[in-house]
Symmetry: C2
Subunit: 117 residues, 2 copies
DNA sequence: TTACTATATTCGATATTTAGAATATATTAA
DNA sequence: TTAATATATTCTAAATATCGAATATAGTAA
């Protein structure tokens, strides 16, 4: 794999490496929204939201379009939503494997099920 | 979406948000490798490699197993490789849209095709 | 023009990430 | 035991990311 491709991938990951930016992208899943709506729904400081949006723009994750007073944001390529979907399944898979593991531990030692330790 | 899921996703992204770590994950695509092999193939400083591996472990992206003198690393869940595949397609899609854009610009102004400006 | 609204940028403080040097630990070999 | 090998951790300095406060800009309304 080329260095350029690696750099590109790590830029995308870096762009998504913050819970607020994940939240923004998830809100844009249904379609474009003006910055103000994002700020309102996520209860963010205006400056903070604007900074996160600047990161998402810089990493080419979103695009913006100005309409009158407002700036509408949307996902640049919906392929990225697939990435989030894969991670959701991954998250739940790990969750259930953790639950299973805890259950196995509990079943192997039923006498201690109610004990705190 | 829950805060936990958002945090989980951004942790994964953060784990992958460095070209060296992308390179490590790509090398592990074919199967497990000892740390030394990764260091050799990527021509990394030993300490630097070890730090990146620690990040990948902390974010649960890889797992390690010790065998004698060596520590073998592997991808914890191959679903993550799908994520990288999606990004590769995304990368080439963006590349070709950039090329198309440049071609359109060139075609719209054929007289300036060879001019520097 | 002035005032208002929506958004972006800059600034300063703090926290996190990164690389490399040095050191530590664990395993095997002698 | 001691030496050698493989890997991890700690430390320091530099770079980067984050937040909130303040300020700037662009568009609209009066």
């Amino acid at each position: 794999m080329s260095d350029a491709l690696r750099q590109f991938k790590s830029d995308i990951f870096q762009g998504l490496a913050h819970p607020t930016r994940i939240a923004i992208v998830e809100l844009l899943r249904a379609g474009e929204l003006p910055a103000g709506k994002l700020i309102e729904k996520l209860e963010l400081e205006q400056a903070n939201a604007s900074q996160h949006l600047a990161v998402l723009r810089a990493k080419q994750i979103v695009v913006s379009r100005k309409a009158g007073n407002q700036v509408y944001y949307s996902i640049r390529d919906r392929a990225l939503l697939e990435v989030l979907d894969i991670l959701r399944r991954y998250f739940y898979a790990q969750l259930s494997s953790t639950v299973n593991m805890l259950q196995e531990v509990a079943n192997e030692r039923p006498q201690s099920r109610l004990k705190a330790h």
